[in-house]
C-alpha cells in the first residue's frame, strides 16, 4: 500500500492527519485515526483464528474484570461498608486494590502510554498525554497511600478512567463506521477485485490489472468493475453511482455496462472496453478520496485549536491542583486536577467537521454528484446567488428547428427542400435542419451542384430549379422577392433571439425556418426550487440579449438578473460585481466553455461534464442531466454546514462548561471520564443524522411545474404556417 492509501483511516474512512496508528491486520498494513478505530477494526475484521484480534479482546476483558473488582470494592468503601468493626480490614482492602490495579493500569494504559511516547518523541502533546498524566498521578499517589497507610486510595479512578476511555473510543469508532459503510463503494474502484475469465478458467485479479478486451464475470449483487459490453447473460443494473438515478436498467447480450453500476439479478459475462483505472467510476473514486483527504477551512481552524488545546488543559489541570492544594487536602486537590485533565475532550472538536463532511460528500457521491473539496460544500451552503450559463446548462445545448413560417408551401415540402441542401453542410444550424426533416420521416430532395456560400448560406439545383437556404442577404443577392408578411415574421423571430434560415426555390423565398436552443424541462422547476431556498438565480451568457431574455422568461429568471453578450472575461467580471452584494456566489456551467468563470466563482458547478474529472475547473460536478439535483445538493450542503456548526457549538460549549465544573471541583474524575466519553459520541450521533436526509425527487422536480416547452418541429409546425 502506498502513503496515499493511508491518508484515510482503515476503519472509519476519516482523514487521519498526523497522528496515525499503524497496525498489521490480516497481513495488510492498516492505519487508524484513533485508538477506538484500531480496536473496532480488529474486533470486526480480525479473523477468528487470529491471535491479535482475540488478544485485544482478552486484554479488554481482563482489564474490565480487574477494574470492576476495584470499582466494586471502592463503591463499598465509599458507602462506608467497612466502617466500625470492619475498619481494621481497610489496609488489607487497599492492598488488594493495589494488587488489582497494577495489572489493570498496565493492560489498559499501555496503548495510551505508547501513543504518548511516540508523539512525545516528535515533540507533540496529544490527548493521550492528558490521560497518562492523570492516571499516572492517581495511581502513584494511591500506591504511596497504601505504603504510608493513608486513609484514601484512588485506584478505582485510575482504572475506571482508562476503562471508560477505552470503551468510549471503541463505541465512538463503531458509530463512525456507519459513515464508512456508505463511502465504501465509492472508494472501492481501485481496490476492487474482478473475476477474470480466460481459456484456463476463472481467476480473481485486482481490477487495476484488467485491460481492454478482458472477459470479466460479474455475479448478481456484485459491482461491475469495468466499462464494457455484455457477452453472456441477462440482468438488471443500477447505475446510481454514475448517473445519480437509482433505477433498474435491463441488460442483455450486446448492452453497454458502466463500471460502478450494481449487477442486480443475473450473472453477466462482460468484455472490458478499456483500462479499469480510466473508467468514470475510477475517476469518481479518486475524486471522492481526494475530497475526503482535503480539510475544510473550519476543520483547519478546529485542528489548530486542538493543537494548543492539550497544553492549555495541562496548565489548567496543574493550576487547579496547585490552587486547591492550598485549601483542601492534597489528595482532593490532585483529584480535581485529574478531573480537569480527563474531562477535556479535544476529540469532539477534532471530529466536529470531518465526520459531517464525509457523510455529506458520500451522500452526494452516491447519486453521482461529486464534490472536489469540503470547502466547496461550505461555500455552497453559504451562497445566496447562483449564476447560470445558458447553452447546455439551462438549455439542451442542441439547436433545433422550433418554427416554420411559410407563404403557402407545406412545412414538409420546405423541410425536404432545405434538408436536401443542408445535408451537405457541417454547420450546426444545418445539422438541426437535417435532424428536423429526419424526425418527421421526410426524404430530403435530391440536389445537385450544391455550393456553400460562405457567411450567407447554401444553394443548389433540384428538379431543374435553383434552391437556396440561408440569410436574407443571400436571398437579396439571388434577387428573389420576399413577401412582406414573411419578412415581418422573420424579423420578429430574429428579434426574439432565434436564428433564422430563409428557404427559397423557383425564383422566390418560400419560408422562414426559426431555430433555437430549447430550455431543459427541469430548468424552471430547478430555478423555482432554488428561489424557495432563498437563492437568487441569474443568467450570464455570451448569447444575444433577446435570446437570453426568452430563455430567462421560460425558466423563470427575472429580467434584472440577465446579462447577455458577455465574453468569458466579462462573465467573470459580472460575477465579481454581484459578489459584492451577495458574498458567496456560485456559477453553473457545462464545464467545457465556462472553465474560467467556474474557477472564478466561489463554487463552480459543472453539469454533466464529459471532460476528465481530474482536469475539471468546477468544484462540484453534477452527473449528465443532473440539473434537477441542484436544489437537493444545496440542501445537503446546508445540512452538513448546520451539523458542523452545531457540533462545534456543542464541542466548545461542552469543554468550557465541563472544564469549568472540573476546576471548580464539583466533578469526580470517574464521572468526568464518563462524560468525556459521551461527549464525542454526541458529535458522532449528531453527524449521523445526516444519513436521514431525504433523497432527491426527480419526478416532482420535473412534474410539479411543467415548463412551457418551445415549439418543437414535430409537434406543431403546421399551426405556424399561417404566416
Amino acid at each position: 500500500m502506498t502513503g496515499q492509501d493511508h491518508a484515510l483511516c482503515s476503519h472509519c474512512l476519516l482523514p487521519i492527519g498526523r497522528r496515525a496508528m499503524q497496525r498489521t491486520v490480516n497481513g495488510e498494513a492498516c492505519a487508524f485515526c484513533c485508538y477506538g478505530c484500531c480496536i473496532a477494526y480488529q474486533v470486526k475484521n480480525g479473523k477468528n483464528e487470529e491471535w491479535e484480534a482475540a488478544w485485544l479482546l482478552v486484554r479488554l476483558g481482563v482489564g474490565g474484570f480487574l477494574s470492576m473488582n476495584i470499582m466494586l470494592f471502592s463503591l463499598l468503601l465509599y458507602t462506608d461498608a467497612f466502617s466500625g468493626a470492619d475498619a481494621a480490614m481497610l489496609p488489607w482492602i487497599h492492598l488488594l486494590l493495589w494488587l488489582f490495579a497494577t495489572p489493570a493500569v498496565i493492560i489498559l494504559g499501555g496503548p495510551f502510554l505508547r501513543e504518548t511516547w511516540l508523539n512525545g518523541k516528535e515533540g507533540r502533546l496529544t490527548s493521550s498525554a492528558l490521560i497518562v498524566l492523570g492516571v499516572g498521578a492517581a495511581y502513584l499517589y494511591s500506591a504511596f497511600a497504601v505504603i504510608e497507610r493513608g486513609p484514601n486510595v484512588y485506584f478505582d479512578t485510575a482504572s475506571m478512567v482508562l476503562m471508560l476511555f477505552t470503551v468510549g473510543y471503541y463505541l465512538d469508532a463503531v458509530a463512525r463506521a456507519r459513515a464508512a459503510r456508505d463511502l465504501q463503494p465509492l472508494l472501492a474502484a481501485e481496490s476492487e477485485w474482478a473475476t477474470v475469465v480466460d481459456g484456463n478458467g476463472e481467476f480473481r485479479r485486482p481490477v487495476r490489472e484488467v485491460g481492454a478486451g478482458t472477459l470479466v464475470r460479474v455475479r448478481p449483487g456484485e459491482r461491475i468493475p469495468v466499462d464494457g459490453v455484455v457477452k453472456e447473460g441477462e440482468s438488471h443494473t443500477d447505475e446510481a453511482v454514475i448517473t445519480g438515478e437509482s433505477r433498474q436498467i435491463a441488460k442483455d447480450v450486446g448492452s453497454q455496462v458502466i463500471a460502478g453500476s450494481l449487477n442486480l439479478d443475473g450473472p453477466l459475462l462482460i468484455e472490458s472496453s478499456g483500462a479499469a483505472n480510466a473508467t468514470r467510476w475510477a475517476q469518481i473514486c479518486r475524486s471522492v478520496r481526494d475530497a475526503l483527504i482535503c480539510r475544510s477551512p473550519s476543520q483547519r481552524l478546529a485542528d489548530s485549536i486542538v493543537g494548543v488545546f492539550v497544553p492549555i488543559i495541562l496548565m489548567l489541570g496543574v493550576g487547579a491542583s496547585v490552587y486547591w492544594a492550598q485549601r483542601l487536602a492534597f489528595d482532593r486537590a490532585l483529584l480535581i486536577g485529574l478531573a480537569v485533565l480527563v474531562v477535556a475532550c479535544p476529540c469532539a472538536v477534532g471530529l466536529a467537521a470531518p465526520m459531517a463532511t464525509s457523510l455529506g460528500i458520500g451522500r452526494l457521491a452516491r447519486r453521482g454528484c461529486l464534490v472536489r473539496d469540503p470547502a466547496a460544500l461550505e461555500a455552497l451552503a453559504r451562497m445566496r446567488l447562483i449564476a447560470f450559463d445558458k447553452s447546455g446548462t439551462l438549455t439542451s445545448g442542441e439547436t433545433r428547428v422550433v418554427a416554420i413560417d411559410t407563404d403557402g408551401a407545406t412545412a414538409d415540402v420546405v423541410l425536404a427542400h432545405a434538408a436536401g441542401l443542408e445535408r451537405y453542410s457541417e454547420h450546426g444550424l444545418a445539422r438541426a435542419v437535417v435532424a428536423a426533416a429526419a424526425a418527421r420521416g421526410l426524404e430530403p430532395m435530391v440536389s445537385r451542384d450544391v455550393r456553400v456560400v460562405p457567411g450567407r448560406g447554401i444553394r443548389g439545383n433540384s428538379d431543374g430549379q435553383t434552391v437556396a437556404a440561408g440569410s436574407a442577404i443571400l436571398m437579396r443577392e439571388l434577387g428573389w422577392p420576399l413577401a412582406s408578411g414573411l419578412a415581418e415574421r422573420g424579423r420578429l423571430r430574429e428579434a426574439t433571439g432565434h436564428s433564422v434560415i430563409y428557404v427559397g426555390w423557383g425564383e422566390g423565398v418560400r419560408a422562414v425556418l426559426s431555430l433555437d436552443d430549447t430550455p431543459l424541462p427541469e430548468a424552471r422547476a430547478t430555478v423555482e426550487a432554488l428561489r424557495r431556498r432563498k437563492v437568487l438565480a441569474i443568467l450570464l451568457t455570451g448569447d444575444l440579449p433577446v435570446a437570453a431574455q426568452r430563455i430567462a422568461a421560460a425558466v423563470g429568471i427575472e429580467s434584472d438578473g440577465i446579462e447577455a453578450g458577455l465574453l468569458p472575461a466579462a462573465k467573470r467580471a459580472a460575477l465579481e460585481r454581484r459578489r459584492r452584494n451577495y458574498g458567496m456566489v456560485a456559477m453553473v456551467g457545462d464545464g467545457l466553455n465556462d472553465a474560467p468563470v467556474l474557477a472564478g466563482a466561489d463554487v463552480g458547478i459543472a453539469v454533466g461534464s464529459a471532460t476528465d474529472l481530474a482536469r475539471e475547473a468546477a468544484a462540484v460536478v453534477l452527473p449528465p442531466g443532473g440539473l434537477w439535483m441542484l436544489p437537493w445538493v444545496v440542501d445537503v450542503a446546508r445540512a452538513v454546514r448546520a451539523t458542523i456548526l452545531t457540533n462545534l457549538a456543542w464541542a466548545f460549549g461542552y469543554n468550557l462548561i465541563a472544564v469549568g465544573l472540573a476546576m471548580a471541583g464539583v466533578l469526580l474524575p470517574v464521572l468526568a471520564a464518563a462524560v468525556m466519553a459521551g461527549s464525542s459520541i454526541v458529535v458522532v450521533l449528531n453527524s449521523l443524522r445526516l444519513e436521514r436526509l431525504p433523497e432527491p425527487v426527480p419526478s416532482a422536480a420535473a412534474d410539479s411545474a411543467p415548463p412551457p416547452r418551445s415549439t418543437a418541429v414535430p409537434v406543431n409546425s403546421e399551426t405556424l404556417q399561417a404566416g
Binding site: A54, G61, V62, G64, M68, M71, L75, Y78
Partner: protein, 241 residues
C-alpha cells in the same frame, strides 16, 4: 437473608432460561484439551468473569439508588425497614420493571422482548467468537466478563432490584446471589455439554418468572404499602422530614 435466598433460587431457576443463550456460549467454550481439571478451571474462570460483571452492575445500581434516594447515606436492609419518598418511588419503578420482565417470561409483552433481548446482542456475541477459541486462561475470563454485559431480561430485573435496595453493598449482594444462582446450571452446561429437555427449560422459565413476579410485587408493595403507615407515623410526630 431470606430475600437473598429467593433471589438465589430465582437465579437458579432462571438459569434454565440462560441455557438458550449463555448456555450455548458456555457449550461453545468447550473442553480444554489438557484434561478434565483444565476444563473445569476454564469454566470456573468463565463463570467468575460473568459473576464479576453481575456484582459490579449490582454494586453500581445499588450505589446509584443510594445517590438518588438517600443523600444522608443511610442504607436500608432489603425488603424491610422504613423508606423515604425517593426510595419508595424507586422501589415502585424497580418493582414495575421486574413485573414487566416476569410477564415477558410468561410469554406476554412480546414487544418488550425485542427491546430487551435484541439490543445489539448478536453483534456483540459475534465479535466475541474469537475469544472462544483463544488459548490461555485469560480468554475465558475475558469472555465471561463480556458475557455478563450481554442483554438479558433476568439481569435487568435483578439490576432493578439492586437499585431499589439503595445501597452499594445490598445491590452487590443481590446480584451476587443471583449470579451464584446461575452458577450450577451454566457450570453443568459446560461440563455436560448437552441441552436439557425443552420441557424442563420451560418449567425453569416459568419458575423464574414466578420468582421475579413475586419479588417485583413485594418491591412495589414496599413502595406503596408503608405509605399509609409512614403518614400515620409522620402525623404522630417525630419523624424527620
Amino acid at each position: 437473608m431470606s430475600a437473598y435466598l429467593i433471589i438465589f433460587f430465582a437465579g437458579f431457576a432462571g438459569s434454565f432460561h440462560c441455557i438458550g443463550m449463555c448456555g450455548g456460549l458456555a457449550c461453545a467454550l468447550g473442553r480444554d484439551p489438557e484434561g478434565r481439571g483444565a476444563t473445569v478451571l476454564r469454566h470456573l474462570l468463565y463463570n467468575t468473569g460473568r459473576l464479576t460483571t453481575y456484582c459490579f452492575l449490582g454494586g453500581l445500581a445499588g450505589a446509584f439508588g443510594q445517590v438518588i434516594c438517600t443523600p444522608q447515606g443511610t442504607t436500608v436492609p432489603l425488603l424491610t425497614g422504613p423508606l423515604d419518598t425517593g426510595q419508595r418511588i424507586l422501589a415502585i419503578l424497580a418493582g414495575l420493571l421486574m413485573i414487566a420482565m416476569a410477564l415477558q417470561f410468561f410469554g406476554l409483552l412480546p414487544h418488550l422482548h425485542r427491546v430487551t433481548a435484541g439490543f445489539g446482542a448478536s453483534t456483540l456475541a459475534a465479535s466475541l467468537r474469537s475469544l472462544l477459541t483463544a488459548p490461555g486462561h485469560a480468554a475465558p475470563l475475558a469472555f465471561g466478563v463480556f458475557n455478563g454485559f450481554l442483554p438479558c431480561p433476568l439481569v435487568y430485573a435483578f439490576a432493578a432490584q439492586a437499585a431499589s435496595t439503595a445501597g452499594a453493598l445490598h445491590g452487590f449482594l443481590t446480584m451476587a446471589a443471583f449470579g451464584l444462582g446461575t452458577f450450577p446450571a451454566l457450570l453443568l452446561m459446560g461440563g455436560v455439554g448437552r441441552a436439557l429437555a425443552p420441557a424442563w427449560r420451560q418449567r425453569g422459565v416459568w419458575l423464574a418468572g414466578s420468582c421475579i413476579l413475586l419479588l417485583g410485587l413485594v418491591t412495589v408493595g414496599r413502595g406503596i404499602l408503608p405509605l399509609a403507615a409512614h403518614i400515620a407515623h409522620g402525623w404522630s410526630g417525630g419523624y424527620p422530614a
